[in-house]
């Protein structure tokens, strides 16, 4: 069965329509990268799936079950976890507490403190320090670790490399490669760095002005097609390649 299916999702910020009739699906074990310019609606899409933003119309299903009416915390407990934009760690709590919080309120499963620390080596020495003092890379690793502690079936990662040094990006993606090695967890990753997205993803969707304008496997997409979609040059129909 399809892990996640999103059907004709429309979302607004006040009068502004941020997403228009977006549909997509993710299979278990699949990594989907969302690309697109700033303001294309990538973060809003993730927030709608996680339940942090209320969609105006459309449905979100996990394992075929309708999630649309559930609030964010209830979706965590059914298997969706989001590492949000801006990381949103709890600055006055230690890393350990940040991670334990998700474990205590999320689902039981394979992802434990030890396993998260194994995947994100750099976090080990920080365990008992308050998260408020972390560097950008450390915060991103901690946020992803926190999402994993809830043992999701679907992991949503917003703006993975935004604001990170090249070395930190390298580190985070090395860890993510290990995370996806696990197998049955699906992932949706918002990534600004096109090269990085194409090398990491099983499938890519490009959003432009709130609409999905291009979808395909990285190997099947040409640079030119992506660039056109990225800048909204091929408006209208979704191009399936």
């Amino acid at each position: 069965m399809t892990l996640l299916s999103v059907e004709t999702l429309t979302a607004r910020h006040g009068l502004l329509t941020a997403l228009r009739d977006v549909s997509l699906s993710v299979e278990a074990g699949e990594v989907l990268c969302l690309i697109g310019a700033n303001g294309a609606g990538k973060s809003t899409l993730l927030r709608c799936i996680a339940g942090a933003h209320h969609a105006a119309t459309g449905t979100v299903r996990l394992h075929g079950r309708d999630m649309t009416a559930l609030s964010a915390f209830a979706r965590v407990r059914t298997g969706i976890a989001l590492a949000p934009e801006g990381r949103r760690l709890f600055p006055d709590m230690t890393l350990r507490e940040n991670l334990m919080l998700a474990a205590e309120n999320g689902r039981r499963g394979d992802w434990t403190l030890t396993r998260v620390l194994d995947a994100f080596d750099a976090l080990k020495p920080l365990l008992d320090q308050p998260a408020g003092g972390f560097s950008g890379g450390q915060r991103q690793a901690a946020a992803i670790g926190r999402a994993l502690m809830a043992n999701p079936d679907l992991l949503l990662l917003d703006e993975v490399s935004l604001g990170l040094s090249p070395a930190a990006v390298e580190g985070v993606y090395a860890s993510l490669a290990q995370v996806r090695g696990g197998g049955k967890m699906g992932m949706i990753v918002v990534e600004q760095d096109l090269t990085r997205a194409l090398s990491f993803a099983d499938r890519v969707i490009c959003l432009s002005e709130g609409e999905a304008v291009l979808e395909g496997r990285p190997a099947d997409l040409t640079r030119a097609a992506i660039t056109r979609a990225y800048f909204g040059l091929s408006q209208g129909e979704v191009t399936h390649v």
Binding site: A52, F73, P84, R88, F90, M100, L101, R146
Partner: protein, 306 residues
């Protein structure tokens, strides 16, 4: 002269323990649920009244009355959060203030209608606790009850500290206080956390009420001053800080007992003035920071208006 001053200092510090207990509940609601419960003082009096009924009308021993009233008030906190405050919070930041102000007036007059204006006290039911004490060298006298209250305050704050640091509920409370949205994304049900916080706050108010009834007379209209004192302790000690409420309570207690050496009127006024001074200092500091330092503030008169 110096003897009474020393006595006032000691009494002030001990009084601070009582204020800390009342303030801790108010602070928890303010920090976690994000509104100031204007009925906090009246709920404190409700707790005291319930204990008084249990002791005077039903003949229960004091310990049993206290052990019943505190969980009862906690349950009331849970219920009111769920049925009343949640609704008010959903309608914007103004409404909780309006609702709790109305609730306070309702409680005061309801208790007055039920129990009349007679002042009541648990003092007669706690044996020699209400008057016993120790005479120390230098003419110093410390009552058993104030010392007990202060010790209890330390114990309560210590327990709350441990609860917030060491338990899953405590972590959920802190996370919700820091970033409710992120807490939800970690699976925390903010509404349940808010209800738990309200239950704790009401229990603390009830404990404060019982302690107040032990050392003083309680009337149905005794609540508002208690709310003001609690608010003063919270602001003086720094909003959102647990141990800060103890410091704030002690400063308030000191201001009141020192003012009390002049007159009862000055005692209350002194506490209020300390609060206004702290608020004024904070406003000036923020204003100075926003305009690039104190010197800049001195030069510019008034805020920028055309």
């Amino acid at each position: 002269m110096s003897e009474s001053l020393l006595n006032a200092l000691v009494q002030g510090v001990l009084l601070g323990g009582y204020y800390a207990i009342v303030a801790a509940g108010l602070s928890l609601m303010f920090g976690v649920v994000r509104f100031i419960n204007l009925a906090h003082g009246d709920l404190l009096v409700l707790g005291a009244m319930l204990a008084l009924i249990a002791v005077e009308a039903l003949g229960w021993p004091v310990w049993l009355a206290v052990a019943t009233v505190i969980p009862l008030m906690a349950a009331l906190g849970w219920a009111l959060q769920r049925l009343m405050f949640e609704r008010a919070l959903a309608a914007g930041p103004l409404l909780p203030i309006l609702v709790t102000l109305g609730l306070g007036a309702t409680l005061q007059n309801g208790m007055f209608g039920l129990f009349g204006s007679n002042t009541r006290s648990l003092g007669a039911h706690i044996g020699d606790l209400s008057w016993s004490g120790w005479s120390l060298p230098g003419g110093l006298r410390v009552g058993t009850l104030p010392v007990l209250t202060f010790t209890l305050a330390i114990a309560v704050l210590g327990l709350m500290h441990l609860m917030l640091r060491r338990t899953p509920l405590g972590r959920a409370i802190r996370a919700t206080a820091q970033d409710p949205g992120a807490a939800e994304l970690s699976g925390v049900d903010a509404r349940r956390v808010h209800r738990a916080a309200a239950a704790i706050a009401f229990a603390l108010a009830a404990l404060g009420g019982v302690l107040l009834a032990m050392r003083a007379q309680v009337t149905p209209f005794a609540g508002p001053p208690q709310l003001i004192f609690a608010f003063e302790a919270v602001v003086i000690g720094g909003i959102g800080s647990l141990w800060g409420t103890l410091i704030g309570g002690i400063v308030l207690g000191l201001a009141q007992t020192l003012g009390g050496t002049i007159s009862a009127q000055v005692s209350l006024l002194a506490g209020h003035l300390v609060l206004l001074a702290v608020l004024g200092w904070r406003v000036l500091r923020d204003e100075a920071a926003a305009r690039g330092g104190w010197i800049a503030l001195m030069r510019v008169k008034g805020p920028s208006h055309d």
